[in-house]
Symmetry: C2
Subunit: 542 residues, 2 copies
């Protein structure tokens, strides 16, 4: 008989920080104590953990399809998830293989975890989408999910329940968990333009995203600084615009690999091709795409945003986004639209003439809207939805009702959330979560304390907030420092977007996150420390 | 005939940042341009680079002892330095080994670098010291050093002159360089107590220190949080005080390895055993070493600084520092002495009584001085010199004339430098170089702009400033993030301490440092980027 009460998990895993009795020490040091929720991160919606514990052996433990499951052994998504989580749990216990045949079996052993999927097998090969159901019911010891969307988080939760007892044996307490995300869109933005990010770095961070139940990789793939996307239709864009045409590009095969790696972990890949600003690198390979700037009556030799007055611009965009719509399977594309500087447009006599013809007066926002409007029509014709940065909304561009407005400007984000949702648009929040801004100390707490629905608005408006994204812009990060800078700081955002609204206890979060970060380290991810502490198995790299 | 004029090095190595003509882009972006000094870092004292260039092949190029050199092939310090620098220069060009026998020889090939040492061969096995002569004269293609202390920087400079031409061929321009450090003491402080640093991490950072011509590793090895130093005399200190007695300690063999690895690179290892504060972890393994704190008339169960009123304390310290004096060959030990909190001492009735007996009144600084004075006598008897943090000086402790006072307190460091040197003490500066404090953007510039002699004082006083240290305290760094957080930010400090006083051009520094950081990356060190940019060979890790 299992009694389900919320009880202390006997965690030998990372006993964590020192318990110093430092009366004479002035600094306020966070003191680690074991949370009653052990190392669960992000905290599932409903958790009951029993006192009864079981042991798991690497030689006999299996993750299997439940009999009632609609999934077959041919579903590679499931099979690879089972292997991945087996590896996470037993990866460091390889020495025990020889004990397989000569150990006595033990009634307190847990021999299998069953996975029961209700939805049809055909979904196995599909892509996660904005409407994926990620809910999961966990009983001892059965993961029951309606849809494939719940597999990733269900197995992650199970693996987070496993701990090492004092003899180093893998153990698990029986538990009942009912889980689903609070917000549907939980993203990480990485920027591969300001610094090129080797595929290896992207994959490692997708893997870490899955450990934190993030489900959207917002790939800010190109920008002013470089154009690493190798386009089949316009190969000269990366040929001329990448930092290097061979070593610093993403080939179609690379992109495919990223998308499949993400799919297996329940992660959507949404590429961003930001226009009309942030496009200096596009201009190198695509003649006449950018606006020639003038100084006085002569072209200065430099270029501004995309030239919105030429038909060739729209021909190019139509072809380009047709390619994008086939390369990226997700239903959405991020179209940018932020930070358009009008200086160059203003200097150009042809643009001035066009402004007159269109009766735009001096309002260059109208010209920007003219461009964006045509772009949105082009992208709509490729059957994709789109996300845009908040300026596009602020400037009054006509948007489809299902447009997602991405709020990023800091100070006024509460007001902006109000007005975007009052206008009936779906929105995601990034303003408080620009992780490229660093400061001394435990800034994860700042990210953790954000409440995305803390703005004035009706319940209907609040429902339009489908989530948020942690953004790590690339000015100061590349392969050398990206991963430890992102984790576990982004983990704070992960819990805010997944767990219930009332999960706000900073002390309990510190305790669980300390263990979660050591678990990431043990899985090979260089997640940086929260504070003075140690992990039983320190990072093996440099 | 070589004409020596200062000329542009044709650097294909990391052509660096984008040259965007971004008229319409608001952010002030640093623009990379090749420096006339190429990628030299820190800048040598006198540099003349000729137009004439030579090619180097991995198959035939050799670093050899000059005929006049006093060094023999049995000097392992030299032999390992030759190998290390050969590897740095040709490590990525292994594919060319097969071309050895069937290539034609070329008159413009450089076949060898000669190394000419004047000082006796017997010095080969010695340790670098505070009086080591690191000067070096470099002619095409001969490194002439008086003493072994010049080898490291001489070879580093030579390797920094080598670049890849547009065909990928390793090339070098003839040059004449006269080099010596401006300051004798150029250190990095790493803290292995707040987080344990695996040996691998320490060695990688010693290696990087050598690339930046740092010559002191200040090993802040123990502190409140943990005691990872395994003492032969008092093994219970780490047995009880380390995070883990096996996985999180430095054994005698580990310490020996660190010291030898450093020696081969011209780096001194100065350990810090900070007392009487910062000693919580000592108290776990050494009964009665720390002061019992009282609440009211009863011991509270917690402990304060080292107990200065017991004879057993001084017996312990005498034995302990006798061991330290044999384990660490350097002539100096750092004895700490910072941040002593008097609360616990004040609460203890035995201490109160002692204060009365000694006529110290209420001035607990006198008690602190009493302790430190006795400690200094103990350490003096082990034939070591010592460094102490500035509070020990501030509190008026009697110091030996050759004591080095370490200035670390921020705001008033100019005044402190004045008063320390006015009192006739040698000093090193760290106050402006606490690299654990991070902020957004290019903070290396802030470290670079520091002028250590910018305080009021006579020329005699200025001569007492023998250098400085960049400190990376351990609250927020461990194996996951230490290396990219330290480099290239510490490189800014390296140039300030090595190069001439008038080397202050931030633009030129940016250009050279961008290349230097890519060189560190190419040598396998995850040195983080200065700004949007790329390296031809990005970091291969995650």
């Amino acid at each position: 008989m299992l009694k389900f009460v919320s009880l202390l998990l006997a965690l030998s895993f990372c006993q964590g920080l020192q318990h110093n009795n430092i009366d004479d020490y002035v600094e306020a040091e966070p003191v680690f104590e074991a949370s009653k929720y052990g190392s669960l991160w992000p905290l599932p919606q409903k958790v009951q953990i029993s006192e009864v514990s079981f042991k798991l052996t690497s030689s006999s433990f299996r993750i299997v399809d439940a009999k009632a499951s609609s999934a077959g052994p041919s579903c590679s998504l499931l099979q690879s998830a089972y292997r991945r989580y087996y590896e996470y749990m037993f990866g460091s216990a390889k020495k025990q293989w020889w004990s397989k045949n000569n150990r006595r079996s033990d009634p307190s052993d847990l021999s299998e975890l069953q996975v029961w999927i209700t939805s049809p097998d055909s979904e196995c090969d599909g892509y996660p989408s904005v409407t994926s159901d990620e809910s999961c019911e966990y009983l001892p010891f059965l993961v029951h999910v309606m849809f494939y969307g719940g597999i990733q988080s269900g197995l992650e939760t199970f693996s987070q329940l496993v701990f090492e007892d004092e003899y180093g044996a893998k153990s698990i307490n029986a538990a009942i968990i009912n889980d689903f995300p609070r917000f549907q869109h939980r993203g990480i933005l990485l920027d591969s333009s300001r610094h090129f990010l080797p595929i290896k770095v992207i994959l490692a961070n997708l893997e870490t995203m899955a450990m934190n139940k993030f489900n959207v990789f917002h790939w800010h793939i190109v920008d002013d600084q470089s154009f690493p996307y190798l386009s089949r239709t316009f190969p000269q864009l990366s040929e001329q615009g990448a930092y290097h045409p061979y070593t610093h590009v993403y080939t179609p095969a690379d992109v495919k690999m990223v998308i499949e790696f993400a799919r297996l972990r329940g992660i959507r890949v949404i590429p961003e091709f930001d226009t009309p600003g942030h496009t200096q690198s596009w201009g190198k390979g695509q003649k006449d795409l950018l606006t020639p700037c003038y100084s006085g009556s002569k072209p200065s030799g430099s270029f501004g945003p995309v030239n919105p007055i030429l038909n060739t611009t729209y021909d190019f965009m139509a072809q380009f986004f047709t390619e994008i719509s086939t390369v990226f399977p997700d239903g959405y594309v991020h179209l940018g639209g932020d930070e358009v500087d009008f200086t160059c447009w203003k200097s150009n006599p042809d643009i001035q003439k066009f402004m007159e013809q269109q009766h735009f007066g001096d309002d260059y926002r109208k010209l920007e809207s003219f461009y964006i409007q045509k772009l949105l029509d082009i992208v709509t014709s490729t059957k994709k939805g789109y996300l845009i940065w908040q300026e596009v909304f602020d400037n009054g561009v006509k948007l489809k009702p299902d447009t997602v407005v991405h709020v990023w400007i800091g100070g006024g984000s509460d007001k902006e959330m109000s007005s975007v949702t009052a206008a009936g648009y779906t929105t995601i929040l990034s303003a408080p979560w620009y992780l490229d801004y660093i400061s001394y100390g435990q800034d994860w707490q700042k990210y953790y304390k954000v409440e995305p629905l803390n703005f004035e608005g009706t319940d209907e408006q609040k429902k339009l907030v489908i989530g948020g994204e942690a953004c790590l812009w690339g000015e100061y990060v590349d392969a050398t420092n990206l991963t430890p800078r992102l984790w576990p700081r982004a983990s704070a955002v992960a819990e805010r977007l997944w767990s219930a609204k009332d999960v706000t206890d900073i002390g309990d979060a510190f305790n669980r996150l300390s263990l979660h970060r050591c678990r990431m380290v043990e899985r090979g991810i260089p997640a940086e420390p929260l504070f003075s502490s140690y992990c039983p198995h320190e990072y093996k790299g440099v």
